[in-house]
């Protein structure tokens, strides 16, 4: 394991390893894997993307977003409205590929509007604001019956193509994680970590913190929206409660914490492990699975606050407790 984390910290090591993994994974459907196996793999890829995106704003920038699934919901509903055959006030009946770009774009627009207001808050205040955004959006979607189908939900055209779904998510995941790897090495990533470490200092040293935060937020929202859209398409039915599912927020955060907050590979490792673990707990302890997850979360914060990568000696990771504690008395002037 020590060697493994050494490879990851090499200059091109991580990306090479990642590329080989994607290459190997691309042969999986050819080995005669069943539909349900491909479905599970697709779900894991989906969670890797969600966790990586959350990590960009939560881990690297230090803004603990407790309502990030709102972008998932926006993406899912944009897809739903654009492709559904149900009669709505606005239903253009597009195909999947025609609708896909708009799901990301709508999530970005939503992120810019929301982020412009909420990213001025710090620490727990930001988390609460995003949580309320999440809950409020769910209720708004429920009320806007002519546009969204309201509480009775939307039916999407059923299309079953497990290998196609598998490859779509595999490619998206490859792109997203490589992008995160690049961002962490680029000046953008360094600026984001600088904002996490000391926002006032970053502002005073010439970093336009508002721009960087909004940019990171928008990038994270874009791919989360795409994920939501894909999920809606695969699920063929959406309603406010399954799309704006509260636990999705928490699981995203737990995955990043388990792997190592703020690192590139932490969310990937965390997402795979937690997804499998969750499945195991779910299938064996149906009644207690939330209890077990809660206990797991507490143990995680108590014993490995810096995640698996942190425990392995990678100091590039941040702890959720420390981010929460960072509060700057001198507030930078924000307009």
């Amino acid at each position: 394991m020590k060697n493994f984390s050494k490879i990851l910290s090499k200059k091109w090591g991580g990306l090479t390893l990642w590329g080989s993994l994607i290459f190997l994974l691309s042969f999986y459907p050819l080995t005669g894997a069943s539909g349900i196996q491909l479905f599970t793999a697709t779900q894991i890829f989906l969670w890797v993307i969600l966790a990586s995106n959350w990590n960009l704003i939560g881990g690297m920038t230090g803004y603990l977003d407790f309502g990030h699934a709102v972008f998932f919901g926006i993406g899912a509903y944009t897809m739903g409205i654009l492709v559904t055959n149900s009669s709505l006030a606005f239903a253009p009946k597009l195909s999947f590929w025609q609708a896909l770009p708009w799901t990301g774009i709508s999530a970005v627009i939503f992120a810019l509007l929301i982020g412009w207001a909420t990213l001025r808050l710090k620490g727990a205040y930001f988390s609460i604001a995003m949580l309320s955004t999440f809950a409020a959006t769910r209720e708004i979607v429920r009320i806007l019956r002519p546009l969204t189908g309201g509480g009775s939900g939307l039916d999407l055209p059923p299309v079953l193509n497990r290998p196609g779904e598998y490859y779509f998510m595999l490619i998206t995941m490859a792109i997203v994680v490589s992008l995160m790897w690049w961002i962490r090495r680029s000046e953008l990533g360094m600026s984001l970590v600088a904002i996490r470490e000391d926002e006032v200092g970053a502002e005073m040293r010439g970093i336009d913190t508002t721009f960087h935060k909004l940019f990171a937020f928008a990038v994270a929202a874009f791919f989360t929206g795409i994920c939501g859209a894909f999920w809606a398409w695969q699920n063929t039915y959406i309603d406010p409660d399954v799309v704006f599912f509260q636990n999705r927020n928490i699981i995203m955060i737990m995955m990043c914490m388990l792997g190592g907050l703020g690192t590139v590979w932490g969310p990937v490792i965390g997402a795979v492990l937690l997804y499998l673990l969750q499945d195991l707990i779910w299938s064996n302890l149906v009644d207690y699975h939330l209890l077990v997850l809660g206990v797991l979360l507490i143990l995680l914060i108590m014993f490995i606050p810096y995640g698996i990568l942190g425990a392995l000696g990678n100091y590039d990771t941040a702890s959720i407790v420390r981010i929460f504690k960072t509060s700057n008395k001198t507030k930078a002037k924000i307009k």
Partner: protein, 254 residues
């Protein structure tokens, strides 16, 4: 060195009747300040006299309640700190603000000169020029051997040196030093002093320094401002200040 600069040149940084209130407390009260290009100016005063608040106001980190701040002929009263920094004003902090979970090297690189952002910021990595400058500055501050260490693991004095390095990275015109020598060992203080002198003489950099180290003040500064309870108590050469009765009573003690 002790002669005052000719008043014909326009000041680099001016404060006009600057006031800052925290509730009923006037932390800075109608302070006037002129810093001319190429000067080293000291700012002294007892604890709680508003020195750091004045620095925060000058660097636009805190909005001022009254008055005006002019930098390079432009009114910067309502500018955001990063814009002021890009105009060529950089500062250090009394309460250390290094990025603790980044390496020393990354800390230096990210304090580079910023010009502007666009949506392609995502593809940018640090250029060679910035790297060379960071390497030179780390060598100068004797931090080279620590460059791959996390900044949070450094000692207080080393972090202070790193902050000075970070303030110098963007090649600013004026540098505000907030107690740059507290917690630094005497030999290194001499090094810092030498470096400030060199920067001042050869590169014509301007400094405004909050200091409690009176040797530092009398060796380096052309002029000194004395603050007391948010108001300007006196102004003059270090020798004049040390002879001023009001200053002796408020600051030096008998």
């Amino acid at each position: 060195m002790s002669q005052l600069p000719t008043k014909q040149t326009a000041p680099l940084l001016e404060a006009r009747q600057v006031s800052k209130y925290f509730g009923g407390l006037a932390a800075v009260n109608q302070v006037d300040l002129d810093i001319y290009p190429g000067e080293i100016v000291g700012l002294v005063g007892p604890n709680g006299s508003g020195k750091t608040t004045l620095f925060d106001c000058l660097s636009c980190l805190q909005s001022i309640d009254k008055g005006k701040i002019i930098f390079k002929g432009k009114d910067i009263t309502n500018t955001r700190p990063y814009q002021v920094s890009r105009m060529g004003l950089s500062r250090t902090f009394q309460k250390l603000r290094v990025y603790r979970q980044m390496t020393v090297w990354e800390n230096m690189l990210i304090s580079r000169q910023w010009r502007g952002e666009n949506l392609f910021v995502i593809f940018k990595v640090t250029d060679r020029h910035t790297r060379r400058r960071a390497r030179e500055l780390l060598e100068l501050l004797q931090l080279s051997r620590l460059q791959h260490e996390y900044a949070g693991n450094l000692s207080g004095g080393q972090q202070r040196l790193l902050e000075i390095g970070m303030a110098l990275m963007p090649d600013p015109e004026i540098i505000l030093l907030d107690e740059a020598t507290s917690g630094v060992n005497p030999t290194l203080i001499e090094t810092i002093k030498d470096r400030i002198k060199t920067l001042n003489r050869e590169y014509n950099k301007t400094f405004l320094a909050i200091e409690h180290n009176i040797n530092f003040i009398s060796d380096l500064c052309d002029r000194v401002y004395v603050l007391n309870q948010g108001e300007k108590l006196a102004e003059g050469t270090p020798q004049e200040i040390q002879a001023n009765d009001a200053v002796v009573e408020a600051y030096f003690g008998t």
